[in-house]
Subunit: 251 residues, 4 copies
């Protein structure tokens, strides 16, 4: 392999709301290179967002918006039948809201990654992917759009002229056809840190093969809201460092 | 009077939500020079905001943010005991959210005016006024802060270095001490268009006198959500034109 | 026909929220025999609900709960992928909330009719229909479950032991197979009052035929939130009276 | 002392929302005799409420409603300037919503205790206390109203004919005039379990003296959402048992 490998490690953070805390934000900030901050619809409130942006700044972590469905009770994990224009407007609103805190803190948004059921729908549904990609591009053409590797979202991102980042999930098993194994299948979620690390390294070194085409992985999603979060993140970092993979934010 | 008089006419619009319409947005847009768009907390949703911004653009009307308390049921008219930092963050969030639609539409935010109970509190409470003024300044020092003429909000706006606009209410009676007559007093709200117009002209030509100091009025608030809205707006415009007062957005 | 025909006329009311009014509640109350009151999720707030219940009492109209998805912005018209147990709990919550106002006003809930996208899903999806039917039955086995004539909802209602009422839509065209013509087809929505009235009478006198089986219509839905609402309601009432059909609440 | 002492131990539980858990519900249920369940406004959602009611049933704990301000972000701790009728309707709505889950589970509501800033306001403001007391009485005259010992809420509860329970806070210091020491004063919150237990016993054995009148304490509030919760609850129970005080739900 001629060029040195690099990988971005991202994590969904800032997912508390009011009295509710969620996830190991401070600890995870020290282990990742990019943070996807909830924007008030599925999680996060203005106070949480202000804190998350400051934490990202203090840790020198790249800041991204993590817009989701307007469904706090469902944590953005329940698909809602919204028109494409409604989705575009919901994403636009959340982008601007987070960006305001970045601006006040003297930071710039680097990327956008949809959350939960919106992420899933944008992976498969062209109209949704396009609505999101166009909104992000209209808002700021320099933003990087993060989406499921090889799916509709990065495809439509490229189509509208955005820089995109194909994302892999080290704690999820992949099928031989390159797709994520559905969560309800046994073995779909990988728990043991050493296995997560091994999966992460394979994703970075080999990418995935979808429909006969190789897709390189540019960013890995590390979960921050389960008990294994910190241990898994450390294991992934260690595997990368051992293999000489540079851990760097998206360029 | 040496210099020619000018006045900005502003109106709170974009106050619908989902299935709910409110106010005569399209008609009022043609009669005012500045619009204060609700930002999703006390009214307005992302779809309403997108439409309001486009309508402002089509009408060549200056666009401002109209942030309020997070209380849709109370339409932002019920005071909530929020800490100054919570208010600052709520305003920051709403500013950015509206600005996103402006940005996508190729417009720029011109001003910020708090809504309802937040406007009232910011008129009287120094800490609240300061929290809002500092947030607006941190977000964009070129924004104009609109507040009750002679009150804490314009005072703190000037203190943090913002351009401010003192606002008058032509459909509200003023006491001899320069303060608004409380709504529960008889005669506090002026209904007849000719009286509203007369009050408007007096506010523009004479300003108000508070604590012995004269305060010039730079913008008049025209209400857009009552049956007399259109007629009142036309009467005010006519009075200004007859008196040679230029109707122009805030400079 | 041996026995005299009777029909219930129902209307979705109490659909305002906070500052927002919707529909001609007072006028429609005088024209219908049953009212379906929104319960705070897709529309209605505690103050609106209190007023709606009192209005129903004053008009001697049977009171029903009209639970919907927790989506005020979408007015409950956007399907949300909720688990059956989540739907059951959302319905239970709304039932109790409305019932509290009935209880305080000295009224009793007579029926339950799901709203919007939840109504549509419950017409087709057995698990959803069953979750709703069982919840209603557990809450109060004397409640009447109102649903689309011949659909899964009345079917599951009967299965759990509830009294059900098959509902027809006089302002909607029916296909020859007994199903509602989809809204996006030309002619699906009937506007002219005399046609609505004719359709109403046909539904009452002939019912509909679904899968070769005749389904009698026990209640007609009159819309209360469009400009033709009052005129249509009067036309339907007149058609019933002319044909000797008794207009009576569900027994 | 002639008659044997008895005390109810209550705890605010069911305060999660969607993805968010809060408090040690299962553990606390085993240590208290009454639970105050959040009703969806300041905390709790329909799914959380269904689970909380079942947990109360399984533990044989008396179930009460814990209505709060409609402010999830502020956890009901920020006072909102609502009219008395708005407060009454908000309480009515929440009462019914919780009662629905009780009814479906075959339980009965035993008591009502307002939450957070609403509790505080109801302790001091006669109109608020009266609005709540009347609503509870109209809803079900057999419900017990729980409020700050010696305050407006129990006073107005008695005035409308409700059975009331004066509540004490073992982890809060009391001033010599019988009032709670304000939270911002040093020593206002008691942390050490043995001190909490001692304070609890004093409250039960001696009550408090307000304006020269002795007020007996019928229920003690045990907090369930801090790290010391379980230990404090055990210490209080142990102190009661050692002193021969019967731990029993409100009669």
């Amino acid at each position: 392999m001629a060029r040195a490998l690099r990988i971005d490690l991202n994590c969904d953070l800032g997912e508390g709301f009011g009295r509710y805390d969620l996830g190991e934000d401070a600890a995870m900030m020290a282990l990742v290179t990019s943070v996807n901050a909830a924007c008030g619809f599925h999680a996060g409130d203005p106070d949480v967002m202000a804190r998350t942006v400051l934490l990202a700044k203090q840790n020198g972590v790249a800041l991204g918006a993590h817009p989701g469905y307007p469904d706090l009770q469902g944590f953005g994990r329940r698909q809602m039948r919204m028109a494409s224009q409604e989705i575009a407007n919901a994403v636009c609103y959340q982008l601007g809201a987070l960006d305001a805190f970045a601006r006040v803190a003297g930071m710039k948004l680097r990327h956008v990654k949809p959350h939960g059921a919106l992420y899933n729908l944008a992976s498969q549904d062209t109209a949704t992917a396009q609505a999101i990609a166009q909104t992000v591009h209209s808002y700021d053409p320099n933003l990087i759009l993060v989406g499921l590797a090889g799916s509709e979202l990065p495809r439509m991102g490229r189509a509208v002229g955005l820089r995109v980042a194909d994302e892999g999930f080290p704690d999820r098993a992949y099928l031989s056809n390159g797709q994520l194994m559905p969560r309800n299948m046994p073995g779909a979620v990988i728990i043991a840190p050493e296995e997560v690390a091994r999966n992460a390294l394979r994703l970075v070194e080999e990418g995935i093969t979808l429909h006969g085409e190789k897709v390189s992985i540019e960013t890995l999603c590390l979960h921050g809201d389960n008990p294994e979060a910190i241990e898994n993140a450390r294991a992934v970092r260690h595997a990368m460092e051992s293999a000489g993979v540079a851990i760097l934010p998206l360029a």
